[in-house]
């Protein structure tokens, strides 16, 4: 049982590259914290610093009230689940789980009862004598989990543990991990690049970009009030539509609430197709360019008639001027059709011109 506190943690590599540029996060006892961000944002490095696999070049890492900057990984009382599972290929499932306990000089009887209990929980009991290569991907993943839980550590660390599984198994394991964590009530830090995984697992969500924290908080709160355009487009799929706006446009449509607004964001699901303009809201005339019908919903890709630049917040974004609209699966406008979509005032997100500040109108 422990909380984990990071105080202005920094990592600068000998070459001068700054991977982590001062991160402050506080994870309470028993909480599930998810670090999410695009690849290269520093989330794995940060996790490995908590584990003790990377040296800390600035700031403090505090686990359960003890500064662990100089403490060996073995002595931090943590357990880690790796992306590629990192099982010992030459050891049986039983020995994979027992190894960490034996290294700590635990009695063989106690080891046996712990491993068997973990195997029962993870449904690995029939496979204890197998070698990792004789297991499926999902089973290996569970062995990696088992290796972590038999240790009964203060903190679990997960480094993208589900990214090597296929989509179906990923969802199942996601639920399993969450249930297990609730039951054991162990403080956990979990790294992923998948925003859906992050949203569903987290008590506290930490959105990272470029070695910095963009926003920390409850996942739904972050979804509802993203602090920056980066967070706005990273959390939620498909991403939020972001449009740069001219001051006079804002004034005319929003009644001149905030003159320093540069970017307007609207989530695809917050649009409706309508001829009316809600009071204080925004209406856009669109030409339908493509349609994706996935059954429960339909995505409409339209271009704005006015030439507008969208703000590039994350790589792999839509081309400028394109707007995504999500409507119920029963509807589908024709390609080439001119439609008009609108969003109410409460669903508008306003950001400063550089996208770094959210403006509450």
């Amino acid at each position: 049982m422990a909380n984990v506190t990071l105080r202005s943690v920094r990592k600068t590599y000998p070459g001068g590259f700054e991977a982590i540029k001062g991160v402050d996060v506080d994870v309470g006892d028993g909480q599930f914290c998810v670090l999410v961000g695009p690849s290269g944002c520093g989330k794995s490095t940060l996790l490995r610093m908590v584990a003790g696999l990377e040296t800390v070049t600035g700031g403090e890492i505090d686990i359960g009230g003890r500064i662990v900057n100089q403490v060996e990984p073995a002595d931090r009382d943590i357990a880690m689940v790796f992306q590629n599972y990192a099982l010992y290929p030459h050891m049986s499932v039983y020995n994979n789980m027992a190894y960490g306990l034996r290294n700590r000089g635990m009695a063989e009887a106690e080891i046996k009862s712990r491993v068997e209990e973990a195997a029962r929980v993870l449904e690995l009991s029939p496979m204890l004598e197998r070698k990792p290569r004789q297991l499926s991907g999902g089973q290996r993943q569970r062995v990696a989990m088992g290796r972590a839980i038999v240790r009964q550590p203060k903190v679990f660390l997960f480094d993208e543990p589900l990214s090597n599984l296929d989509a179906k198994l990923r969802i199942a394991m996601r639920v399993e991990i969450r249930k297990l964590q609730r039951r054991l009530n162990t403080t956990s830090i979990y790294v992923t690049h998948d925003q859906l995984e992050a949203m569903t697992l987290a008590d506290i969500l930490v959105v990272m970009n470029g070695g910095q924290v963009e926003q920390v908080g409850n996942p739904l709160a972050i979804y509802e009030k993203p602090a920056t355009t980066f967070v706005a487009s990273f959390i939620g799929a498909p991403p939020m539509n972001l449009m740069s706006t001219r001051p006079e446009e804002i004034k005319s449509q929003l009644g001149g609430s905030a003159s320093d607004v540069g970017i307007l964001g609207i989530r695809p699901e917050d649009f409706v197709i309508t001829d009316q303009t809600p009071a204080g809201g925004v209406a856009l005339p669109l030409t339908v360019e493509a349609i994706e019908r996935v059954g429960a919903e339909t995505f409409v890709y339209g271009s704005r008639e006015q030439e507008e630049q969208r703000v590039a917040a994350t790589p792999g974004e839509l081309p400028p001027g394109e707007i995504i609209v999500r409507i119920p699966g029963t509807e589908a406008p024709a390609i080439g059709a001119k439609i008009r979509v609108a969003a109410v005032r409460a669903k508008l997100h306003l950001f400063s011109g550089d996208g770094r500040t959210r403006i509450e109108a």
Binding site: G52, L53, E54, T55, E72, P73
Partner: protein, 282 residues
């Protein structure tokens, strides 16, 4: 800590430098000895620092040879070694690549028996069949010839296996595509397979060149004429005479010259060398 700390790193550096010193010491001694006066060495008075006879010794070694019994310039021996090494390397690659091509890209009667006939030669190094092979080479009047030096060493299975393995990894679509483009077996081989095999061929060449240059037992048997000697044989003959007559600076200069080409190849083409070594042992 998995990231190594200062102290452990220093230990690692020190151990590695000790290793390098052990590995390099004999060669250092050879280089030093090749620059010193023979009389000093013969008295057991050799200095551990280079002497002043560098140019003189190497000139005599390369262009004149020892003043004793064999008097064959080492330059000529190096030429023989070079020709033999190149013949072995190029010959082996050439015949192996075409036979591997036949085995992988054609179906014909006796395909597998032929593959096995080639494969089993892996188990017959020249050392276990020296005299009968010697007799055949003699019967074919190939003693003291480059053909006799290289042919028996050319046809082993390693290169064939390597190319076969590589060809198997070439996607079928490439052949289908070039067939649709109207290419026959020759075109496909020349325009597609050979360019793809370039790195493999280069890696193999590096290894085969070194192995060829370093051949010893076989050249020892089949060269009787001094002017057909390879450098490895020459160096042995130089220390045949009674100790007192051995001209050590020249012997050591010859040793240095014998090491130079293959070591140069290893150092300069390190990537290809490592690749070739790992691939041929698979």
């Amino acid at each position: 800590m998995v990231e190594e700390e200062g102290f452990r790193r220093y230990v690692a550096h020190i151990i590695l430098w000790i290793g390098i010193a052990i590995v390099a010491f004999p060669v250092y001694i050879a280089i030093v000895a090749s620059t010193q006066d023979n009389a000093l060495i013969a008295n057991g008075q050799m200095s551990l620092l280079p002497g002043g006879h560098f140019l003189q010794t190497y000139y005599q070694t390369i262009f004149v040879g020892t003043s004793g019994s064999t008097r064959e310039p080492v330059g000529n021996m190096m030429l023989n070694s070079l020709v033999m090494a190149l013949l072995i390397a190029v010959g082996k690659i050439a015949i192996s690549i075409i036979s591997a091509y036949a085995i992988v890209y054609f179906r014909f009667p006796f395909r597998m028996p032929i593959f096995w006939i080639i494969f089993i030669t892996l188990m017959l190094p020249v050392e276990v069949r020296i005299y009968p092979t010697y007799k055949i080479v003699a019967d074919l009047h190939m003693l003291d010839s480059y053909a006799g030096l290289s042919l028996p060493l050319i046809a082993s299975a390693t290169a064939t296996l390597l190319f076969r393995q590589f060809f198997m990894t070439v996607p079928d679509e490439l052949l289908e595509a070039s067939r649709i483009d109207g290419a026959g077996p020759f075109r496909f081989f020349w325009d597609t397979l050979l360019p793809l095999s370039r790195t493999n061929m280069a890696a193999l060449f590096v290894i085969l060149f070194i192995l060829g240059w370093n051949q010893y037992l076989w050249p020892l048997l089949i060269t009787t004429r001094d002017d057909m000697q390879t450098i490895q044989i020459g160096i042995r003959k130089m220390i045949t005479t009674t100790d007192a007559l051995t001209e050590w600076p020249i012997v050591m200069a010859t040793a240095v010259l014998a090491m130079l080409p293959p070591v140069f190849v290893v150092v300069v083409m390190q990537k290809l060398f490592v690749r070739g070594l790992v691939e041929t042992e698979k």
